[in-house]
Each structure stands twice: as structure tokens, then as C-alpha cells.
Amino acid sequence: MTAFIIRRLFLLPVVLFGVTLLLFTMVWSLGSDRLISLYISTPEAMKSADAKQRLIEKYGLDQPAIIQYGKWVGNVLRGDLGYSMSSHQPVLEGLLARLPYTLELTIFSLIPVIFVGIWLGVKSGVHHNRPLDQGIRIFAIVGWSLPDFVFGLLILMLFYSQLGWFPPGLYSLATEQAMRMDNWTHYTRMVTFDAILNWRWDIFLDGIRHLVAPVLTLAYLWWAFLLRVTRSSMLDVLSKDYIRTARAKGLSEKVVINKHARRNALIPVITVAGHMVVQLMAGVVIVETIFTRPGIGTFSARAAQQLDYFAIIGFAFFFSLILVIGNLIVDISYALIDPRIRLS
């Protein structure tokens, strides 16, 4: 077990190094002419003859990728991820400021995804190939087939434009003003959790109100995924010998399902769910864009679109870190729960 953990941790620098180097060389290969667009964005800015040259020197755009990458690594070891021109603040600061918002969205999306996905998956597995199963599967597959950006926009139009229930953004004006008052302390920077810790239920509800639409959009995509996994795991378990034994012993179907089958079926599901959380964080770009929620999704999208190389590799660094550590935690818990699993 410890050997496994150590091996995985050794993986971390390899991955971080590999990901960031790959992205950096890709971007840097564009040459100073393209890279300079990050600093000069209009023809008007090119009025003075030496503007371009000065910028190239200032930021070392004509130096080889390896040297600039080396400088970046040196800075990272000192805790400096560089400055993001696309977000107008240092990269680390930008990421840390936005992480809570993405986290909040992800956590709240997990609730419907897990509960609905698992509940429906179990039901589907139990009633295998019967109309209920078919129905649930179609429902899930349709969900998996809808393009999320269209769905999100439609949700926004329906629930905000037409009904006025769920506005875009993180919180309302009133909440924002309340958060600037002295009796408010920022704990996690997540609106809902901070509201609870500050004992402000009205703000909590305001936060929830702004979460419903994006959560709906994010969730409907993913519960199809979890549903499928649960279902097939359930089917797997139901065909096992010990289930047949339980039935032969005369136990009621309900007990068989609830006590024996489900618990064991959920084991692989947990792994998948764990991995899914990390993937969710990668996929929030669309939802964050449509619902105007700042998060690491919009940060990375903006950085990519503007070739903001520090922000790009800073984000990739960050994300890979989360991914590898996240996967490690999930795999460890999986191994702890089911000792039969070989960790190779």
C-alpha cells in the first residue's frame, strides 16, 4: 500500500513537468509575432516604431522555449506562477480567487448527479430489460446526447428571461452589499457555505437561487454517465452467486436488493464518481460562461483564447496537480473499501 502511494507520488512531478512543458512548447513555437498579441491588441498600439521590439525584449519572446520554461520553473519553485494578462492579476492569485466558485458549483452538482444517477441506476438494473429499465436508459441517453451549451442557454432563457426565477451570476446586489459590511467574514469564499457560517439564511437562499440553473445544466449531462455505471455494476452484482444464495434462503427481494446487492454494487461506482468530480471541474467552462459565474473554467478558457501562456500553463499545472492527487485519493479509498482490489 505505501509502496503504491509512493509510486503514485513520484508520478506527480513527471506529470506536472510533462504537461506544462508540452503546453509551453506548443504555445512558444508560435514565435514572437503571434505571442506579442497578448501585449499589443490593437493596431493603434503599434504607433511607435519600437513598441514591438521593446515588448519582445521585455518579455523575452524571442528567446528559446527551453530558457523561458526554465525561468518559469524557477519561479514556480518560489511560489510565483507569473502574471496573467488575460485576467489582469497574478496567475496564482487568479486561480485561488476563482477556485471556490468552481468548487461550489461542482459540489452542488454532485448532489443531484449522485442521488439521481445512483437511484435510477439501481432501479434500472433491478428491472433489467423491462419497460422501466428501457425508459430510464432512454432518458439518460437523451441527456447524454444534448449539447450542453444549447441546453444551458435554453435553461437561462426559460428560468430567467421568461420566469425570472434564477438569475445569472453568483449573487444578487443586496447580497453583495451585505458581504461588504463589517459583520460578514469570508471563510471559504463560497457564497452558500459562508452564508451558513455567518448565520445568514437569506444569503444562503440567494446563493442557492443562483446555483439552480447552472447545477441543472451541469448535472443532467453527468447523471446519465453515473446511471450507466451504476446499472452495469448492479447487473454484475445481481448475477453473483451470493445473491442467488440469498434468494434461495428465502429472503425478500427488497432485502436482497437493499442489503446485499446495492452496497456491493456501489463500490466501483464510488471510484467512478471520484474520478468524475475531477472531470467535472474540467468541463465547467461552458456553464460558467453562460451563467456568468467566474471560476477556473472561464479563467482557463480566456487564457487559451488569448494565448496567455503564463495563465495557460499555470492552469494546467494546477489542474494536473488536482487530477493526480484527486485520483490518488479515490484509488486509495477504493482499495481501503475493497481489499480484494489489486493496486497494480
Binding site: V19, I138, P147, S161, I312, F315
Partner: protein, 292 residues
């Protein structure tokens, strides 16, 4: 003999499954459209039929008429775009799936078969690509390479082979301990032959399922990239591109519904078809199901 019966049994299971049938019908529908595309929507410029012809100088959505049954957006005929978009969808799906699956198969089977340090190195490389945030990687690639469907496909291929590699590696790791493989190795049979003829055919079914599921999600991902401004060239006959125009008119949806409905439904049905087929294939190929 055994293989033929197995195959027939598989087919029969397919026919009996209503969702699978629905999937196949939908797929056939799209295939027919893709084949007869130039007749359904004759191109103006035969050297570049994927460029939606401009019919009006006005960029706003224009209601459907007899001449343009799906309406106009950005001065272009949506019907033309949806029909030719079928071919684009197949192109994206097939090319990206096949190429990335091929890469994944090679990497995964070589890693699993030979093991040792080769396995380590290949798996580390796989890990690196898997740890790359996909959307950022794809966006950076399209920014670097420029807009255009070919570049989008390249980006999707480069960041899409890893799942296949891992999957086939896992399966081959198990399969290579089998007796017949050991025997073949002992007999000195060529490694490549063993992989191709013995290992892959028995381990490839989950990959086939994966390919089917990915066909649909690739089209959605390509559309998402168009939505983020990094997809096909503007004016290209591609469902995602048409949808990305609609986002600015969505507040007047009663007047502009056709900009979303037609390309949207096309995309949903296409993806649905592949997902249904893939789901059915999964059920059929699942060894735990076979005994039933």
C-alpha cells in the same frame, strides 16, 4: 463454425432490443442523408461545397420560407447547413474515432504486451496526456493551428486516444496470461502476429463500444469548441457552427426558434443514434450477459 453461430446470436439479440433497433434506424437515416447530400442540397460552388452559400447580406435570423425551409442565419441557408452538416458530423466522428482509437490500440497493446520499461514510459506519456485539461489543450491547439475543421479534428485526436490505450492495455494484461498466448510465444511466433491475430480480437469489444459512444460525444465537443469561438471556420456547414450563431438571438426564441431547433435536433438525434447503438453493443458484448 462456433464463431458464425456466435455472430448470428449477437445479431438476433440486436434485433430483439427495441432501443438498439431505434438506434440503427436513426443511423441509417443519417447515412442515407449523408450519401444523397449533393442531391438534397445542391452545392453552388462544387469545389468547396462545405462553405454555406450566402443568400442574403442581412446577418439576422430570417424566418423559414418555401425556398429556405429551415430559415436563414448570418445570411446563410440553414437547410443547406444541416444537410451538409451531416457529412461533417460523420467526418469528424469517423476520422477522429478511428485515428485516435488506432493510436490508442497501438500504444496500449504494445505497452501491455511487452511490459517492462516500455510499458512504464508509454503509460507515463499516457498519464501526461490524461492530466492535461482537455478543453484547454484543445483550445490552445486550435488557437495555435488556427480555425478550421481539420485543426479541430487534430486537436481532438491528440487529446483523445488515452482512454482507448488504457482500456486495451487492461484487457490485454489479463489476456496475455492465457494458455494459448503463452504457447504461441513459446513457439516463437512473431509478436505482431500474436497481438493482431490472438489478443486483439478477444479484447477489442469494449473498445468497439467505446468508439460508438465517442462518435456522438465528439460531435458535441467539436460543437462546444465552435461555441467557444475555436471550431470550424465561420460559414462552414457544421451543426455546431450554426448553433453558435444562434446564441445571440436566443432571447427572442419565439422568432428565432428555427436557428436552434433544426441544427439542434439533428445533433441530438445523431448523438442519440450512436449512444443507443453503443449502449446495445455494450449489453451484447458484455461477457456477463452472454450466458443469458
Amino acid at each position: 463454425m462456433k464463431k458464425q453461430n456466435e455472430f448470428r446470436r449477437t445479431l438476433r439479440k440486436f434485433y430483439r432490443n427495441p432501443t438498439a433497433l431505434m438506434g440503427i434506424m436513426l443511423l441509417l437515416f443519417f447515412v442515407v442523408i449523408a450519401i444523397f447530400t449533393p442531391f438534397i442540397a445542391p452545392p453552388q460552388d462544387t469545389s468547396n461545397p462545405y462553405n454555406m452559400p450566402r443568400v442574403s447580406w442581412r446577418p439576422v435570423p430570417i424566418q423559414p420560407t418555401a425556398d429556405h425551409p429551415f430559415g436563414l442565419i448570418d445570411g446563410k441557408d440553414i437547410f443547406y447547413g444541416v444537410v451538409w452538416g451531416t457529412r461533417t458530423a460523420f467526418r469528424i466522428g469517423l476520422i477522429v474515432s478511428l485515428v485516435s482509437t488506432l493510436i490508442g490500440l497501438i500504444v496500449g497493446s504494445v505497452a501491455a504486451y511487452f511490459g517492462g520499461w516500455l510499458d512504464e514510459v508509454l503509460m507515463r506519456i499516457t498519464d501526461i496526456f490524461m492530466s492535461m485539461p482537455f478543453l484547454v489543450g484543445a483550445m490552445v491547439m486550435t488557437v495555435i493551428l488556427g480555425k478550421g475543421l481539420d485543426n479541430v479534428m487534430l486537436a481532438l485526436i491528440i487529446f483523445g486516444w488515452m482512454q482507448t490505450a488504457r482500456l486495451i492495455r487492461g484487457n490485454i494484461l489479463q489476456a496475455k496470461e492465457e494458455q494459448y498466448v503463452m504457447a504461441a510465444k513459446a513457439l516463437g511466433i512473431n509478436h505482431g502476429y500474436i497481438i493482431l491475430k490472438h489478443l486483439l480480437p478477444n479484447t477489442i469489444f469494449p473498445v468497439i463500444v467505446q468508439v460508438s459512444m465517442r462518435m456522438g460525444s465528439l460531435v458535441i465537443t467539436a460543437a462546444a469548441l465552435s461555441f467557444l469561438g475555436l471550431g470550424a471556420e465561420p460559414g462552414y456547414a457544421d451543426w455546431g457552427t450554426i448553433l453558435s450563431y444562434s446564441r445571440d438571438y436566443i432571447t427572442n426564441i419565439t422568432d428565432t426558434w428555427f436557428t436552434i431547433v433544426f441544427p439542434g435536433v439533428a445533433m441530438i438525434l445523431f448523438v442519440l443514434a450512436w449512444n443507443l447503438v453503443g449502449d446495445a453493443l455494450r449489453d451484447i458484448f458484455d461477457p456477463k450477459m452472454r450466458s443469458k
